[in-house]
Amino acid sequence: MERSGIHGILFALAVVVLVLVGVITIGDRWWWLPPLASVHGGQIDNLFTITLAITGSVFVLVHLLLAYFVWRYRERSAEQRAYFYLENRPLEVTYTLIPALVLTGLITAGTRAWFEIQGPPPQNALPIRVIGEQFAWRFQYPGADGQLGRFHPRFVSESNPFGIDPDDPAGRDDIVATELHVPLNRPVVAYIDSKDVLHSFFVPALRVKQDAVPGMTTRFWFVASQVGMYDIPCAELCGQGHYIMRGQMVVESDAAFESWLAQQPTIATMLGLSQ
């Protein structure tokens, strides 16, 4: 048998380089999450960082051990004999319990944040309907009555691209737009619907993601915390134009929001109905 020890040394080296690349690029945040622009996103980012720290340490530890063992115990001579060793109960129990404990912590923190983020929105939240279609987003705002008119794909027609029920009185004064504007620091609850296939309402900067499912309404509420313009890509494969399905979100002050809203058409004007 040819001497193969050199490959052990090379493997150890390769693994060390891998660890270094990982630690430097990720530790130094060469590439990172988009700058945060929402309140609940802080929880997500925190959990992300904590998990990264834990898994990162395990990654480094295990790989360094692997590199060390592979280098240290490579075959060096024919007479050398491996050390017969079967098992070590205390050790095995230890490294079963430690991951279990750490993971319990992560589960607890994760589900807690999850229920806060997914829980019921505050009473004063501004309801907005988000409608996904191949390959665009549409948005519906409540009028003065603060209520969203009914949506159903069966109402969709050329003159009614939003699919709002023309007979629903609550919908008459609703405002429709193809760009999403939301007021700063005010809770917004997005009711997400789809006209055709699955889509996913994804705002990377706001850490928002929720699928749009035809036949049912999903919900996600958030508070935008940074003024700015953000992309709304679609995150669920929705057809040939999936990659061009992009909406625009604008977070602005209350005043700017109100004046923008006032300029948008209502359902009544769109459908030629009386208010």
Partner: protein, 107 residues
């Protein structure tokens, strides 16, 4: 000697029930089916109906598996090996049906 010659591991002197037992089980299956039928046609509703029918169905399934499918006379390990995986179907039920309800709520 004939027993030894049996190929492919057929049970030597396998234990099985006398024909009477099969007839009794058969009878019980009719009785249980009839009860289930009556639970439905007397218009019992709600949880009571669901629970009753489920219990009756499980009883019938148990009888069929135990006697007709012979599990009553097999080694216990085989019984466990067959019944245990069915827990996963319960897991599937627990995972899917609440979601069906959630969809109904969000229509």
């Amino acid at each position: 000697m004939a027993d030894v010659a049996r190929p492919q591991g057929e049970q030597v002197g396998a234990v099985h029930a006398p024909i009477r037992t099969y007839l009794t089980v058969w009878g019980w299956l009719f009785v249980l089916s009839a009860i289930a039928y009556f639970v439905d046609i007397i218009h019992l509703t709600g949880w009571l109906k669901v629970v009753l029918l489920t219990v009756l169905a499980l009883m019938k399934a148990g009888l069929i598996m135990a006697f007709f499918m012979h599990l009553r006379f097999e080694r216990l390990t085989l019984v466990y090996a067959i019944v245990a995986p069915l827990i996963l179907l319960v897991a599937m039920l627990v995972g899917l049906v609440p979601d069906g309800v959630a969809v109904f709520v969000r229509r």
